[in-house]
Structures are given as C-alpha cells and as structure tokens.
C-alpha cells in the first residue's frame, strides 16, 4: 500500500470516513461474492437432478432479498452521517483564520499570494510566488481560490483537500497544517496540454523558519 502522510486537521477525519466505508462495503462485498461462488459450486449441474421452481414471490423465499435490502438501507444511514459530518467540517463551515492566502491557477502554473509581514492580503508587502506555497504549521489559513483562464483544481493530497478553481469567482476554503514538511500540490482538473506539468510544492514550516522566509522574501521584493 502507498502510505500518504496526514498533514491537516481534517486529513485523519477523511481517512477515518474512508475506513468506515471500506469496512461496511467490504463486509457486504465479501458476503455477496462468497454466497455467489458458493451457489455456483453448490448448484452445479448434476445428471438427473431437477431444478427447483421458485419465482421469488413466496414470503419465505422473498425474505432473503428483503432483509438484506433493509440492512443496506441501515448501512447507508451510517455512511451518510459520516460523510455529511466530514463534509460539513471541511467545506461548509469556516473556522476563524490566523492568516489568509490567495491561490491563483492559470495555464499552467500556480501563483500564490502570501500576506507578508503585516499578515494582510493586498498590501504592499504581499509575497507572490509561482509554484511554491509557504505556510506555518498549526496556523489556520483561509485560501481564496481563483483562476485566470480555465478550470483548475487545487489539490493537496497530504491535506486530503481538493477544490476546483473557476474563472470569474473567488472560492474561499480553509486548512490547518499539522506537521512540517514539503509536499506536492496538484492541479487535478484537466486544463490543457500543460495539465501534467502544473505542479507546485507546499512548504509547511515551523514558526521560526516561516518568519525567516517572510523576512527574506520581503527583503527581496521590497523596492
């Protein structure tokens, strides 16, 4: 199995939901395939043996369909509760932010606008980078996702985060990194011939490293 680290507060929630679904459908799957192959074996043609004439409307036979049917519905409810609660946490609510960044997709690169030393976007000390996103660990970020041309999708697998970017709109979402490291940022919506090279890196840094990066970058960009 390919192991992917969990680097956001909700990564573990999403993984748990996947595991929950995996267990529920896994049991159903094994049960169904098991019965299926057992029946093929058990009722293989034997000379001289007649088949049973059942049309599936008799109550005592039909219960073999109706009981599993009801159980499927119950399992659906469990999955639904899990799915909606995770979804609500990741996409429907917005915790207060420590900082806000802007993510801009275009054919075929990601531009990141960091707020700089004053921690406010659209001021003179904003730091623009192409292909490198710098964030501080354990800080909650809002991102404003935009596109300059076609659809893109901002995907950070270690966060389990994905959101499409749409030209003409700014979509706000959030994340809180939980461990330092350097990871892939993907564009996961096909965006033309350069879709396969539209890669970026996210640098999750501790407070000191991040502050040093801001200083260094401000010095470099301040006129």
């Amino acid at each position: 199995m390919l192991e992917l680290v969990q680097a956001s507060t909700y990564a573990a929630d999403i993984d748990r939901l996947i595991l929950l679904i995996g267990v529920i459908v896994g049991v159903w799957f094994l049960l169904a395939e098991g019965i299926f192959f057992w029946l093929i074996w058990k009722f293989r043609a034997k000379p001289g043996e007649r088949t049973q004439y059942l049309d599936g409307t008799e109550k005592h036979v039909k219960k073999w369909i109706t009981i599993p049917h009801a159980l499927v519905l119950v399992c659906d409810v469990f999955i639904l509760v899990g799915a909606v609660s995770v979804w609500y946490n990741v996409k429907q609510q917005l915790p207060d932010a420590d900082s806000t960044i802007r993510v801009i997709g275009q054919q075929w690169a990601w531009t990141f606008q960091h707020p700089g030393a004053d921690n406010e976007l659209d001021t003179g000390d904003d730091i623009f980078t192409v292909g490198d996103l710098h964030v501080e660990v354990e800080k909650t970020y809002h991102f404003q996702l935009q596109s300059r041309d076609v659809l893109h999708s901002f995907s950070v697998p270690v966060f389990r985060l994905k959101q499409d970017a749409i030209p003409g709109r700014s979509i706000t979402g959030w994340f809180t990194p939980t461990r330092t490291g350097e990871h892939d940022v993907q564009c996961s919506e096909i965006c033309g011939i350069g879709h396969g090279v539209m890669a970026a890196r996210i640098h999750i840094e501790d407070a000191n490293t991040h502050a040093a990066w801001i200083n260094r970058s401000s010095a470099a960009t301040t006129p």
Partner: protein, 573 residues
C-alpha cells in the same frame, strides 16, 4: 386502436419490404431496413470502434508506464496527443462502443425476435438511425487528423477549456468532436423511438407486459432514460458549439456566462447515461443466467421495478460529479443522500441475480461464464462507488485514479463483459453456427484475469494520491517513486496481455462462422421466441402465416407440471 395502427404499419412495412427482395448486395446489406442487418451494421461498427478505443488505451498506458518511449505502432506521445488519446478513448468506449453494441445492435436484433414481430415498427427510421451513427463515427475519426489534432479536453469537455481554441489549442478538433457526439445522440434518439414503439405495439398475441423477456424491457427502459436525459445536453452542446465557433459567451464568466452550467447539463445526462448502458447489460446477464441455471428468474417484477426505480433515481444524483466543482456546499448533502439511496435498488437487483442461482442446475458454458463474471466484477464497481458518492470521502478521491478504476469496474463489465456475454449467447442464432467452447473459455480467462490486474493497481495508485489525465507523473515527486511506477507497469503489462487475448476471440468468430457446428433452432434449450425460428432467422423472422403466439412468461424452467426442464413461450397448453 393501438393494435390496429400497428397492424396497418406492419402491413405497410411488409409490403415495402417485399419490393426489395431481389435487390443486390448494396441495398441488401448497406441500405437495408431489416432489423437484423441494421443490428449487424451497429455490431460491427461498434466492435471496430472498440478496437480503435483499445488501441488508444494501449498507446497512453505505454506512455504512463514507460514515459517518453517511442510506442510501437504510434511513436512518441506528445502531451497534446496524450490528452487527445484519453479524451477520445473515453468518448469512443461510451458513445461508440457501449451504446451502439449493447443498445442499438442487441436492441435491434433481439427486440423484434424476442417479442415475435417481423421487424421494427419504423424500419426506415431505423436505417436512418444507423446512417446518422455511421456519419458520426466518421466525423469523430476525422477529428483526430485535422490541424491541431483531436480534441483533448476530456470526454466531459468542460468549458472554458473546451469553449475556446485559445485554451485547448484544437479549435477544429474540438468542434468536430462536439458535432460527432451530437450526431450520435440524434442517431440514438431515432433508434430509441423505434425500440419503445416496437415493444409497445408489435408484441406477439398473448404476450403481456410481464411475459416480455427482461433484456427487451431493459433496453426499452434505457431508451426512455436516454430520451428524457439527452435534451438538456443537446441544448448545452449547441451552446458550446456557438461558444466555439461564433464566439458567444454562454460559458464565459467574463461575459455573464457560467462554466458550471455546462457541468449541470452534462451530468444531468451523464449520470442517467451510466444506467442507460447498465440496464441492457443487466438484462442480458439475467436472461443468460436463467437459461444456464435452468431457473425461473427470482422475482421478475422485482427486477423490473428496481430497474425503473434506478432509472428514476438516476435523474437526481448528477451533482455528485460536482461536489468540489464550486457548487453550493449545502447541495452536496442532498446529492449524497440520493446517491446513497440508489445503492438500494442496484443492490437489490444484484441480490435477485444471485438468488436466481439458488436451486438451479448450473452449466458453465462460455456465455454463462461471462454472465457470472459480469456480476462478480460489477460488484467491485458498485461498492467502490459508495466511496465517491459519500461527499466527505470524495473530497480526497475526486479526480484520482480511484475514480478511474471505479468506473472501469462498472463500464468494463457493462460494455465488454456484457457484449461478450450477449455475443457468445446469441451467436448461434445470428450466424447459425456454434462457437468453439474451448477457444471461448481461453478468451474468457485471458480477458478476465488481466482485467483485474489492470485496475486493482489503479485503485491503489488512486488511494496514494495519483490524479487523473496526467501525461507524465515525473513532475510530482510524491507520486513519482519506484513503487508507483511498478504499479503503473503492472497495469500496462496486464493490458497488453488482455489485448493479445482478443485475437483468440476474433479467430474464434471467424473459424466458428466458417466451419462451426450447425446450431439448429434452439441449441441452449431456451424459452424465448427468438429460438423458435431458424438460425439465422429469414427476412421477416417467421413465415407470415406462422408468427408465434405467446402462452407464458419467458423463464419457465424446471416447471413441475412438465417433463422437459424448459417450456417455450410459444407452446400451447
């Protein structure tokens, strides 16, 4: 009233057809109005397109496993060519293989024969349907060779990428692709009208609604779903064509348009479309399973009602393709509910299929193997769909190889296994010869085993974060490690093996057609009406004075009142 109208139409059709008896090859095989010939035209065109779609898969899988190599039979793959290959592979396999073969070919061949009619109600509309379909295939194939190359914006064709040559760099290819798809829809609208009307009006005397073989019901329900869902997409396609060619701004936010509008129109069609191809495949497999387990279908009405329920529900799930596309996040909750609900009728249908085996007498002929494989493999496609329908999990899985593997586990059983199941089952009727069982089984195992080795690694890659439609993963360090490459190579090698085994199938078809054992009227000892006429059936299917009458349902196997273990629908008493 309806009956008399049908009679009049039948007579007209018949009168018309008699004029054509002594015509030459061209009017008999190219411009024929005979439903069986049109079915063959659809079947062979669809299979040819399937070979082309398979070739495309071979080329891009080689590029993925061995990036940058010169692919034998193609050469080096550029990013633009890669996008065009995946786009057209998807479009071809769904619109030019699954639909023409499962619905048009088998619908055309089987519906009149299974309901005891001499032909379709509208034979000339039927001919027109194939002609439009043929033109659409030609337009699609031509679009690959125009300046700039074929369209590469994925089969979903999302604007703004698809709407402007400035973005997709394939101005002409994109428009031709869109025109081809629209023409294909027109062909299937024409065909669908025919299937529905024929089933309603031309059934043999005595054939009541619950005496109709399931495959006919399923193809007709699928046609109804198609007709109800395709309208919005055709409108959307016209708007997209205007955006491409007249520079209108339906999908351009800068001019008041909305790119998400296309996604709604596309998936409002696109999700029912899944069931449009699924239902005929289910119909085929339940018919084959009943025959080779010598069992009455477990709950005929249950299958029928769950099919209708699935069809109705399929109109309310489309936005599960758009959870993270920027729709109102509250909407995701509604569509998660409807999507999970659809698992209920589908699960029930599969339970019924499994239950049909109980108490049977199962013979593992080649068609039966395909039918059982359909169920075994489709289950994997079904259960993995739950991960994607659950909004919270879809945040991660969306647009990864997990999605890709999931829908190949649905579409491969539908389009490929379903087709082979139907083809091997009805081959004796179509060509009057039996297929070679040994070759059939070699082909079966040579297809099924590699199939799993292609797509199980892709599930793992998807869980590992590999995203779709990427020409070369070397730009993403986290998914460019050797363990990822090994999995990609396993999938590609399995694909090569699977493609190689298809030669066995074509060899078997040719040899069996040429030298096979004579089939006789009813080699499988089955109940339905198509087995009561000669193999292959003559023009008009039965002698005019001897059209069949129906006395019972299609699945009366092992009836206690009868010595034989089957009871054809047309036998009195």
């Amino acid at each position: 009233m309806a009956d008399t109208l049908a009679e009049v139409q039948k007579q007209e059709v018949h009168g018309h057809d008699h004029d054509h008896h002594d015509q030459g090859f061209v009017s008999k095989y190219i411009f024929s109005t005979d439903h069986k010939i049109i079915a063959m035209q659809y079947l062979f065109t669809g299979m040819l397109m399937g070979v082309i779609g398979g070739y495309m898969a071979y080329v891009f899988r080689m590029q993925l496993a061995f990036p940058g190599i010169s692919v034998p039979g193609f050469g080096q793959v550029s990013p633009g060519e890669y996008n065009s290959l995946i786009t057209n592979h998807g479009s071809i396999m769904i619109f030019w293989v699954a639909m023409p073969v499962l619905i048009a070919a088998f619908g055309n061949y089987l519906i009149p024969l299974m309901i005891g009619a001499d032909d379709m109600v509208f034979p000339r509309i039927n001919r027109l349907s194939f002609q439009v379909f043929f033109v659409s295939s030609v337009v699609l194939l031509l679009s690959l060779f125009v300046e700039g190359g074929g369209f590469g914006g994925a089969w979903t064709s999302y604007p703004p990428l698809s709407a402007s040559g400035d973005y997709n760099l394939t101005q002409l290819g994109a428009s031709l692709w869109l025109i081809a798809v629209a023409l294909e829809f027109v062909a299937f609208l024409l065909g669908g009208i025919n299937f529905i009307t024929t089933l309603m009006n031309s059934r043999a005397p005595g054939m009541k609604a619950y005496d109709i073989p399931m495959v006919c019901w399923m193809i007709v329900i699928a046609s109804i779903l198609f007709m109800l869902s395709v309208g919005p997409l055709l409108a959307g396609a016209v708007m997209l064509l205007f955006d491409q060619t007249l520079n209108t701004g339906f999908y351009d936010p800068a001019r008041g348009g909305d790119p998400i509008l296309w996604q709604h129109l596309f998936w409002f069609f696109g999700h029912p479309e899944v069931y449009v191809v699924l239902l005929p495949a289910i119909g085929i497999t339940v018919d084959v399973m009943a025959t080779f387990s010598r069992k009455k279908l477990f709950g005929y009405k249950l299958v029928l009602y769950t099919a209708v329920a699935t069809g109705v529900l399929s109109f309310f799930v489309w936005a599960h393709h758009q959870f993270i596309a920027g729709i109102d996040p509250r909407m995701a909750n509604v569509f998660t509910v409807t999507t999970l609900l659809i698992s209920v009728p589908i699960a029930e249908m599969l339970f019924v299929m499994i239950a049909t085996l109980y108490g049977g007498s199962i013979t593992l002929t080649t068609p039966m193997l395909w039918a059982l494989a359909f169920l075994a493999e489709f289950l994997i496609g079904g259960v993995t769909g739950i991960f994607l329908g659950a909004s919270g999990a879809d945040i991660y899985f969306h647009d990864t190889y997990f999605v890709l593997a999931h829908f190949h586990y649905t579409f491969f059983p539908i389009a490929i296994i379903g087709t082979f199941c139907a083809f091997t089952y009805w081959f004796p009727k179509m060509f009057g010869k039996m297929m070679n069982e040994t070759l059939g089984k070699i082909h079966f195992w040579g297809t099924i085993i590699p199939f799993n080795f292609i797509f199980i690694p892709l599930f793992v890659l998807g869980m590992g974060g590999q995203h779709r439609r990427i020409y070369n993963f070397e730009h993403f360090p986290e998914i460019a490690g050797p363990e990822y490459f090994q999995l990609r190579q396993i999938a590609t090698i399995a694909l090569l093996i699977m493609l190689a085994f298809q030669a066995v199938f074509f060899f078997n078809v040719v040899m069996s057609w040429w030298k096979g054992e004579k089939a006789g009227r009813n080699p499988w000892r089955a109940n339905t009406l198509e087995w009561t006429t000669e193999s292959p059936p003559p023009h008009g299917n039965w002698p005019v004075e001897d059209l069949p009458t129906v006395y019972r349902g299609p699945y009366e196997y092992g009836h206690p009142d009868r010595e034989e273990d089957y009871w054809p629908q047309n036998l009195p008493g």
